[in-house]
């Protein structure tokens, strides 16, 4: 150390600066993406997707998921395995109706306050009280009432189950179940705002691996490592600068020139090209779990109330062309599979493939040979993929005398349009966090008609199977239930699955340790530079 200082002093400042800068570069990660977080509080009203990433880094959960290597070498989280994060260990009661967590004794929040069970209780109560997304996410794991959460003593936290729900434990490891520094938050709470929602939008009160060093909404967020982090191995990257660069072309240029280390959310064409190029850039790709791009049809109104018409559409879609010219091959095909479905894997290919003769025959059976007119809508925010796809669908349906008008809906209006449930035909995508087929079906096919059941599909037989699968302990029966509802859904085809989209991240070759997470946000805790 001393000799180095001497050397520095002896030589000119200029000669030393690059060495220091080199160190800095090695421990700094520069990321550019299209949009950044709109607030720092995942439980806040209207928190966007990048805000999930803030929760993931600046806050801890009681548990986290294990890791596994995927077939293509990419590291992924393992939804079947729960590992300790803030909780050192946990014990499920003998009757299976509660769980008791032991917290780490030496864990502190960023301001040095020790983490206690009271903080955990406060955070879970908050998730239920904030309403909207966090509340619904907690409910998805049967975490519905504050009485379920109990701080037994400072280091012990108990959750009582309402019912035996296999999603309860995994649901406590999703970003929404983050643990907040209750003392700090309460200091900044007001009478009108008892949960400090306003303060936590711009400040963090967590104990995660990274502190938010600077946050400029719409520009950048800078993370700094929390050196006293106890809930896992200390991250190697000390500083992360995440900038918003809206132009995808520029982000690609920045990466190619080595000015940024990582980017995501690019058009599939760019990822397809970058993964072919021989340069300093590599692309890490994983098909997004539990998610699909699909063509949905509103079953409450003619002509799509007729299953034959829907099947005809499923047989006429130009699947291969869509894969090639809308997705540039970035995704796993969800068509041309076996009938009936073979296992409980989800999403799984449908038995449909392009077959004009079959489609025409089905239209004839339905008495619809003369065709009809309809509108195909899509979210303009997803236009890079949806627009070419819509044109291909339009072209293909013309062969069945179906005249399709294309309706592009701006992002802000899309959700409102979905809620109205009056779109006859749409291209959309959906992904579920918890990787269970029945979780996906609960949102998208169940008769409770959630907003993502965009087709308003209601079938008591399917509902029964979904509800049974959710709480089924017996593996064989569970598999039967799952196969059952997939089969019905694929025969009735209210939605035609087309492709399981790819989650692509492009980075410099020297960036290692990228891990795929269900929330799709980058986790800098495992990343390092070679």
């Amino acid at each position: 150390m001393k000799s180095r200082t001497l050397l520095c002093a002896a030589s000119l400042v200029l000669a030393c600066a690059p060495a220091l800068a080199q160190d800095k570069k090695q421990e700094t990660l520069i990321v550019a993406n299209e949009t950044g977080p709109n607030m720092l509080d995942i439980q806040g009203v209207g928190a966007n997707r990048p805000a999930y990433g803030v929760a993931w880094l600046a806050y801890d959960r009681l548990m986290t998921y294990g890791k596994k290597k995927l077939a293509n070498g990419v590291q992924s989280y393992d939804f079947a395995k729960l590992e300790p994060e803030l909780a050192e260990s946990w014990q499920i009661a003998k009757d299976g109706m509660s769980v008791t967590f032991k917290l780490r004794k030496n864990a502190t929040f960023h301001d040095g306050t020790p983490v206690t069970a009271k903080d955990v209780k406060w955070s879970y109560d908050r998730a239920l009280a904030m309403g909207g997304f966090p509340t619904f996410q907690m409910k998805a794991g049967s975490l519905e009432k504050p009485e379920q959460f109990e701080a037994v003593d400072d280091g012990t936290f108990k959750v009582t189950f309402l019912r035996k729900d296999k999603m309860t434990m995994p649901d406590m490891a999703v970003p929404v179940a983050s643990i907040y520094n209750s003392a700090l938050a309460l200091k900044n709470a007001t009478k009108e705002d008892p949960w400090a929602a306003t303060w936590l939008k711009n400040n963090t009160g967590g104990g995660g691996a990274y502190k938010v060093a600077s946050y400029k909404p719409g520009q950048e967020i800078i993370y700094e490592r929390f050196d006293d982090w106890k809930s896992g191995p200390l991250p190697k990257i000390k500083r992360v600068i995440q900038r918003e660069v809206p132009s995808a072309g520029n982000r690609r240029a920045l990466l190619a020139k080595g000015d940024i280390d990582m980017t995501y959310e690019m058009p599939p064409k760019d990822f397809a090209e970058m993964s072919q190029e021989k340069g300093n850039v590599k692309v890490s790709s994983v098909p997004a779990e539990n998610s699909m791009i699909y063509v949905g049809m509103n079953v409450t109104k003619p002509p799509f109330d007729n299953a034959k018409v829907r099947q005809a559409v499923a047989y006429v879609l130009p699947y291969d062309k869509i894969m090639a010219s809308a997705l540039y091959g970035r995704g796993a095909p969800l068509f041309g599979g076996k009938k009936p479905v073979s296992g409980t894997d989800w999403p799984t290919p449908t038995p449909y493939a392009t077959d004009l003769a079959k489609a025409k025959a089905l239209m004839k059976e339905a008495g619809m040979e003369a065709g009809f007119e309809t509108t195909l809508s899509f979210d303009l925010g997803q236009g890079t993929v949806s627009e070419p796809m819509a044109i291909l669908v339009q072209e293909a349906l013309a062969q069945l005398n179906i005249k399709v008008a294309i309706n592009k809906v701006p992002g802000a209006n899309w959700r409102a349009a979905l809620l109205k449930k009056d779109i006859p035909m749409m291209i959309n995508r959906f992904g579920g966090w918890l990787n269970y087929p029945e979780y996906f079906f609960l949102w998208t096919y169940h008769g409770q008609n959630a907003v993502f059941n965009t087709m308003s599909y209601q079938n008591p037989a399917v509902d029964k199977l979904i509800d049974a699968a959710r709480f089924e302990a017996d593996k064989k029966k569970y598999a039967q239930d799952v196969k059952g509802f997939i089969d019905i859904a694929y025969t009735d085809v209210p939605r035609i699955p087309v492709v399981q989209p790819m989650v692509d991240v492009a980075m410099q070759k020297n960036v290692e340790g990228y891990t795929y997470w269900f929330h799709l946000q980058p986790d800098y805790r495992q990343i390092f530079k070679k």
Binding site: G44, V45, G218, R243, K257, D259, A412, R415, A450
Partner: protein, 337 residues
């Protein structure tokens, strides 16, 4: 003079009231549903209703308007739900970014356009005139995002002369302490020269892009106005009296030709400030234009209203200062007491 300015400012109040009412009504007439948008991920119908209540959108329109005006009177411009920040904070951090870029572009454009226009006018039909016409046509017909991307591609990607289009500063530098919000000025106040150089470098490409765009109207206007003045009687008289060509050109002709150029300058300035969204997007510039567009896309009422209102305020001030400047250029135009 002071009373005149005060009178003008008072006269602007009815305009501002009109702006407040109209933007309020217009934002409410947008087709999107902010509650549905902000309900996000698991937006069930109940969640949307809950959020509607939280945003105060379940109240009737007149009630919402009263709340809005009351808050405005207290200096509270509302919250941007998309960014989670008070609108006033957003505007005050983003407006300087836009202003710095716009002013730099205007300055560059003026430095090039006015000599070009004068030269073209004094030598009509010459190569300078053709060059002026060529630049003007190209500047107007090339969309800014295209010029921006092209410049970034050539000077950053291919040649490596320009810095990465990553916003106002290189990620390794940190912003100077806030005084004016203009990085060039703030860094000089802080005597932080690396930051000054860094900020200047980041400014170059977006400035050229914008300047190319506004060059056209300025150069054309200078040329036309100079041509008109140069053929006027008093110039012929001046020439006949044997005044030096330089004196005729600058003291008499140019000063008289400046008025329409200044009007154009004012118009171009206000137009630029609100509409350089595309340049901001290309160069990741955290300006006010992209903020307003994003707010519109999200049907986020408060920032849209705030944006329009701040633009209206800026227009009022701009018009006033241009009117005052007229007085200096041409005493006949001095605003009356």
């Amino acid at each position: 003079m002071l009373t005149t300015i005060l009178k003008r400012l008072l006269g602007a109040i009815p305009n501002l009231i009109g702006v407040v009412v109209v933007t309020f009504l217009l934002t409410r007439a947008l087709p999107g549903d902010p509650a549905a948008f902000f309900a996000g991920g698991a937006g069930t119908a109940e969640a949307v209703e809950e959020i509607r209540k939280k945003l105060g959108l379940d109240k009737s329109l007149p009630e919402q308007f009263i709340v809005y005006v009351r808050d405005l009177a207290r200096g509270d411009w509302g919250m941007s739900h998309a960014t989670g920040q008070p609108v006033l904070t957003e505007l005050t951090t983003r407006l300087p970014a836009s202003l710095e870029l716009t002013l730099a572009a205007l300055l560059l454009a003026v430095i090039i356009a006015i000599p070009l226009g004068i030269l073209a006018a004094t030598r009509p039909g010459s190569w300078v005139d053709h060059l002026c016409r060529g630049i003007a046509t190209a500047g107007v017909s090339l969309p800014t995002f295209f010029t921006g991307l092209l410049l970034a591609y050539i000077f950053y990607f291919l040649l490596g002369w320009a810095p990465a289009p990553l916003g106002r500063l290189d990620p390794y530098l940190s912003a100077p302490p806030l005084v004016t919000g203009f990085y060039l000025i703030d860094s000089l106040i802080a005597r932080d020269f690396p930051v000054f150089v860094g900020a200047l470098k980041q400014l170059i490409l977006p400035t050229i892009t914008l300047a190319l765009f506004v060059l056209a109207p300025l150069a054309r206007m200078t040329r036309a106005s100079m041509l008109g003045v140069l053929s006027a009687d008093f110039i012929r008289t001046a020439r006949a009296s044997g005044l030096a060509p330089r004196t005729v050109l600058f003291s008499y002709a140019f000063r008289n030709a400046l008025l329409p150029v200044m009007t154009t300058l004012g118009m171009v300035f206000s137009f630029l400030l609100g509409s350089n969204v595309l340049v901001e997007k290309v160069f990741a510039w955290p300006g006010i234009g992209s903020f307003a567009i994003e707010a519109l896309v999200a049907s986020d009422y408060a920032p849209v209203q705030g944006f329009v209102l701040s633009m209206a305020l800026l227009y009022v001030l701009l018009n006033l200062s241009i009117d005052i400047a007229y007085g200096f250029v041409d005493p006949r135009m001095k605003i009356e007491n």
